[in-house]
């Protein structure tokens, strides 16, 4: 009796799928249909006909500039996040640091990678904003006026520095297990064959790590590209990046054309989806070696 339902299962095949019906309904209603609505809207005229005009209309100075700034912002924060995160993870894994620093660093990274959004902006305003801790300290102790050097937190580079606070920890969290996966034997084998440390890194370790690093880069890129709250709390609605522009468009149709808003959102999906697919694909590749 107890095993009977399982044995009879193949004959009742369609009923099986009812088990994931609630999940399928949820996903359809709150994930797939809303997204489809945006994607379809990007290719529709206001009265519902098919058009490519919205896509062509994206090609204005202001929207092009917004995409370009967003792409640069995501690129710089992802590249710097990867570089610094890799350096810190490598320092902890290979640098001979005491074992005690590893676990706190990973715990802190877990917290910091989730400490994004509005409070993060407050923290940076209080630190390197116009009257922030470091700004005031540099001014009173050393007579250095950051503003006079052209630094402004509420600008592109200010945003880059702020985003790094969650980008670096994310890199540390993802790359540390990959660094752990580098086997001692590979290093020893390379040494036996006469390889120097640099040769080992250039010809063995980095090629193995490369998919992980590039994949994480793509993930960080998408992460920065879709972020709204930090930028909004930092600079308000002025800064011309895609998520802020879309936010303003949803609030009050600033573009004056709802379908152009859909096209703007569709462009965002294309970029984040592309970056994420790259991440997933590279992750699968990197797991071949780092099991």
């Amino acid at each position: 009796m107890p095993t009977e339902p399982i044995r009879r299962a193949p004959r009742r095949f369609p009923l099986h799928w009812l088990g994931i019906l609630p999940f399928a309904i949820f996903a359809t209603l709150f994930l797939i249909l809303p997204t489809m609505r945006i994607v379809l809207g990007a290719f529709q005229t206001p009265d519902g006909g098919f058009t490519l005009q919205n896509m062509l209309d994206l090609n204005t100075d202001s929207i092009r500039a917004a995409y370009w700034t967003s792409i640069k912002l995501s690129f710089y924060t992802a590249a710097l996040g990867c570089a610094v995160g890799f350096a810190m993870a490598a320092a902890v894994v290979f640098g001979g640091l005491p074992k005690g620093v590893r676990s706190p660093l990973l715990t802190f990274s877990g917290v910091a990678s989730n400490f994004a959004g509005v409070p993060l902006a407050f923290a940076f305003i209080a630190t390197i904003g116009p009257v922030g801790l470091i700004t005031v300290w540099l001014r009173t102790e050393f007579g250095i006026n950051l503003r006079a050097y052209g630094f402004n937190l509420l600008s592109f580079w200010g945003l880059v520095i702020t985003y790094l606070f969650f980008q670096i920890p994310l890199m540390i969290l993802i790359i540390t297990p990959a660094l752990d996966g580098l086997k001692r034997e590979w290093r020893e084998a390379a040494a036996v064959l006469g390889a120097t440390g640099v040769q080992y890194w250039r010809m063995v370790a980095l090629p193995i790590l490369f998919p992980s690093i590039l994949g994480t880069f793509a993930l960080l890129f998408a992460n920065a590209f879709g972020a709204v709250a930090t930028a909004f709390a930092l600079t308000g609605p002025q800064l011309n990046i895609v998520p802020i522009k879309l936010f303003a468009q949803i609030r009050g149709d600033v573009l004056g054309n709802p379908n152009l808003g859909y096209a703007l959102a569709f462009g965002m999906i294309l970029i984040t989806a592309g970056a994420n697919l790259l991440y997933i694909w590279l992750r699968v590749r990197s797991e071949r070696w780092l099991k």
């Binding site: 095993t3 994931i20 809303p34 810190m88 640098g95 922030g132």
Partner: protein
């Protein structure tokens, strides 16, 4: 030499992370001229809007966790037990919220559930709350699913189900009294992460015009000087608390498994 470089990199990195935390803490204490005081915190805690929005977000987080658990546990269980062929499909869906930015999802909600649609959820406050809860459940889906699925991997789902069935248990009993307690640690771990996500979330709540904690923080930031860093300190403590509880749950799980 190598060790010196490693220490240098590590300490510089730590400095980058510590300075903003020191900065926000110091700034939050400076409300009273000339001396450090907790005035900013008193102002924050004395603001009824703080408690109202915080309570609202907390309630929404609870609802989100319930929806997430009711949705994810049976699905992940069923996929493991009977529908392994659906795994790639379900996993793909659970990854989608990481691929599609939250702002795009909520944009779709606003257009799909407006007052002239087949399901006019944004027409009433309760309807919008439900929509926001579903939105949060969507955002938390990747984490919740992966956590529960990993938890299910450590137990023998098939044997437990057969044993329960042979004792006369129905599906609801099996899920509520056999499967759920066995993956409780994974569920808790997902729940604390969901809590951290929901409490700080800004975009969805702001665009759906609901009085949540995220938009409240943003509004305060635009109008006040000393309260925002105090809020940041509070938010950081909350995030830290959620992650701490999550780690505690995981450590508890390892302990349990070691015993088994």
């Amino acid at each position: 030499m190598m060790r010196v470089v490693a220490w240098g990199v590590f300490l510089l990195g730590c400095l980058f992370f510590l300075l903003p935390l020191v900065g926000m803490t110091e700034f939050s204490l400076k409300m009273r001229r000339g001396v450090y005081s907790f005035d900013a915190y008193a102002a924050v805690f004395g603001d009824p809007a703080f408690w109202a929005t915080f309570g609202y977000s907390l309630a929404l987080a609870a609802a989100t966790i319930v929806v997430g658990v009711v949705l994810v546990v049976p699905t992940a269980y069923w996929v493991r037990l009977r529908l392994p062929q659906a795994r790639p499909f379900v996993e793909f869906i659970t990854l989608l919220p990481l691929v599609i930015p939250a702002i795009v999802i909520v944009f779709g909600y606003i257009r799909m559930y407006n007052t002239s649609s087949f399901l006019p959820l944004t027409g009433s406050a309760l309807g919008t709350d439900i929509l926001l809860t579903m939105g949060y459940a969507t955002l938390a889906l990747p984490y919740m699913y992966r956590s529960v699925d990993t938890g299910l991997r450590t137990i023998d789902v098939g044997t437990l189900t057969e044993a329960a069935q042979s004792l006369g248990a129905g599906w609801v009993t099996i899920l509520a009294r056999i499967i759920l307690p066995n993956v409780m640690v994974a569920v808790l771990s997902g729940a604390f992460l969901t809590l951290a996500i929901v409490l700080g979330e800004f975009t969805m709540a702001a665009l759906l015009n609901r009085p949540a904690f995220g938009p409240y923080m943003q509004l305060l930031g635009a109008n006040r000087a000393y309260e925002p860093p105090a809020l940041a300190v509070i938010a950081f403590a909350i995030t830290w608390g959620c992650m701490g509880l999550m780690q505690l749950a995981t450590r508890f799980a390892k302990h349990e498994r070691a015993k088994a």
